[in-house]
Symmetry: C2
């Protein structure tokens, strides 16, 4: 098995000022070509820590990100040169390509940019189409070292355009097969019980992982070096889950719920609008993160103030007075008002107490009303999402989209 590790360099990672998202992305890309990452390490920006990680004879591939930026706090390149008993030199060819790039972008060749063309002797330069810092590939004793900038867009194109193809050409890779099913609305332990009898039927060579995050729980089925029958088995399990638990299983892999709902709207040639209070634009943002949302999303209103609910969505003032803004009559009003306003086939409406203040004994922080529908039919739901503002906003969005999805499934 090919031994691989990822090293991310930067004090900012260790003191928690930056979350390392690069490693997860790299891990995922490698996993798809059958390279299993054994270890991810984040280390400080010091020579001794960097040398310590580079000096690892167990590894066939070491991928390093960070520490190649133009500013003065980066010492990676000098350390790499030391580690390989060589020196930095100005690569004339790279320098010229850099110059051309800067001229095209109407920028000056300042000393910081010029220093980018310094690389250790013996390295193969990995081109950077999104920035000025070159990537570097060093080989010694059949160990492959790849050094990349920490800026995600620059790192990603280097991986996709150069490093992944290089790894595929160099190593004999074993096969990996997995599929992931996305669920929402059911907590992990409840889900495990719902799926207990199904889980017992899995072959021993298939592993199942529960991967919870703020939006739901993903279920990953994997096998390594499996034959076709194992892959078929995984496929059958995915089909089973998708068909028999469609109320909470909404898709596969990294499909977002908004994407799935968007596709359903396009297929049915229906349009959607939003009328939000507690989610403050998050439902709209979640929908419009998807390219192509303009095919079905007409627009939305954030009726944060009660006055706006009355004026813009024709919410009855007496309903607000009698039941409060977080109530079934008000979200019903909001749907009807928004259908008219946006000439939309369907509307999602939300009203709740996102917190941390504004709760009462009757309606504690986290109480949310959702309504989804149109003039003919509206589904409403009352929920309790606890006392984290972020969680209330996100769960409300996911639940509202899932209600809409389940409405489509019924027909």
């Amino acid at each position: 098995m090919i031994q691989t590790k990822i090293v991310t360099i930067g004090d900012e990672l260790l003191i928690g000022q930056v979350v390392d998202t690069n490693s997860a992305w790299i891990g995922k890309q490698l996993n798809e070509i059958g390279v299993v990452v054994k270890n991810i390490s984040s280390i400080r920006d010091t020579e001794v820590d960097i040398l310590n990680e580079l000096d690892d004879s167990e590894m066939d591939i070491i991928l390093v990100t960070g520490g190649l930026g133009p500013t003065n706090d980066d010492i990676t390149k000098e350390t790499v040169a030391n580690f390989f008993d060589t020196e930095l030199y100005l690569d004339e060819e790279y320098y010229q390509s850099l110059e051309a790039l800067l001229i095209a972008a109407n920028l000056d060749m300042n000393p910081l940019n010029k220093a980018q063309a310094l690389v250790p002797r013996g390295c193969i330069i990995v081109p950077n189409s999104k920035g000025t810092a070159p990537g570097m590939h060093m080989i010694r004793n059949n160990q492959h070292y790849f050094f990349m900038p920490g800026v995600p867009t620059e790192m990603k194109q280097m991986m996709l355009d150069h490093i992944i193809p290089q790894i595929r050409n160099t190593f004999q890779l074993k096969s990996v097969y997995h599929r992931t099913v996305m669920t929402t609305g059911v907590p992990e332990s409840e889900l495990a019980i719902k799926l207990e009898s199904w889980e017992k039927q899995l072959s021993e060579q298939i592993s199942l992982a529960y991967l919870p995050n703020i939006n739901g729980v993903r279920l990953r089925l994997s096998c390594y070096d499996g034959d076709e029958s194992l892959k078929d088995e995984i496929n059958n399990h995915v089909n089973y889950l998708t068909h028999n638990h469609s109320d909470f299983v909404y898709g596969e892999d990294d499909q977002s719920l908004a994407e799935v709902v968007g596709k359903m709207l396009v297929e049915r040639e229906l349009t959607l609008a939003t009328a939000e209070s507690c989610t403050g634009g998050h439902v709209a943002h979640t929908l419009t993160q998807n390219a192509g949302a303009s095919l079905y999303y007409r627009g939305g209103i954030i009726a944060y103030e009660n006055e706006i609910k009355i004026e813009e969505l024709s919410v009855a003032a007496e309903h607000l007075y009698e039941y409060g803004a977080v109530s079934k009559p008000v979200v019903l009003n909001m749907v009807r008002g928004a259908v008219d306003k946006f000439h939309a086939d369907l509307v999602i409406a939300t009203s709740g107490i996102a917190g941390p203040t504004g709760g009462t004994e009757d309606k504690p922080v986290g109480t949310v009303w959702i309504a989804v529908g149109n003039r003919h039919r509206i589904v409403t739901k009352k929920l309790q999402f606890g006392n984290s503002r972020e969680r209330v906003i996100r769960r409300t969005t996911m639940t509202a989209l899932n209600i809409l999805r389940n409405e489509f499934l019924k027909k």
Copy 2:
């Protein structure tokens, strides 16, 4: 110096299905009490990998998260018991507290929950007020091991309520001092040049780090075990940056730009509304993520379709026809329309091509118009944010908020 490392357990981290946000959070908390994390490692959910990380005589503190969940893919507890040459037993006291918790929540004591009360002999149980899995504290040869669940809310309360106080009581901690200044709108290399002469004046014991992310670049000034004069120097530098570069320096530490703008609105007793096209609700969401947004945010409209721009914001149809939706006249119209609609003192309006499609030669993907103001004065800006949909949306939001902030600074 106290040697500390963080270990996160889970195959899902290594294959990139989950981004490790726990480590950054833990690193930050420790840093605040003067504990510098030397290493963060993510490893697979296997006995050999876990044992390998636990067996580290260099470390005084080892913090482990993950692998304590109720489902079957977790083997951490057995491995911990092996490592400490002990066995798992059912802790009666914990079991009873668990039972009480489940009864209160109207849930059953299922076998998965019962297994949570199994812990290695000799461990000190760290209570979990947010879930069912207990934390564990083991001590051997003056090394302190803390095991926590991977669920962020559970891990966080254990750290804050028990583990941080425990570390403070056990170790003599050295002092650390840093301040971080938040900037937006200026790329890292340009920023480095703008600040070059200032940077040269920093004392040698003060380190400066540039920390770029999608919202801007943070500048962190740090000193370890420094005397008062060094701290004063850092404070003076922060004042200098805040006052002399206020156009792009918007705040400190982890203040968000939306928070800063919100505070300015409250101080001036002004209200704000939004009229969004390309940002699709993201400006509103960014504003309303802040608790207390209801003090100044009245509401907003997402006018995704041109028809909505005309009907709801009184955008002139001939302007849309003549100049297109992404144009100065249209964003000016949008501000004026939204001021009337929401009776707001100020409005932010956006219109752009978020991509990946919809670009033309004249207006390529990434072209954005922003307008900020009211009936009396409107500032407009045309920008180009490139071809990533996410980046176009986020940068547009940041730029719009920064334009508003700069307007307040002028007065």
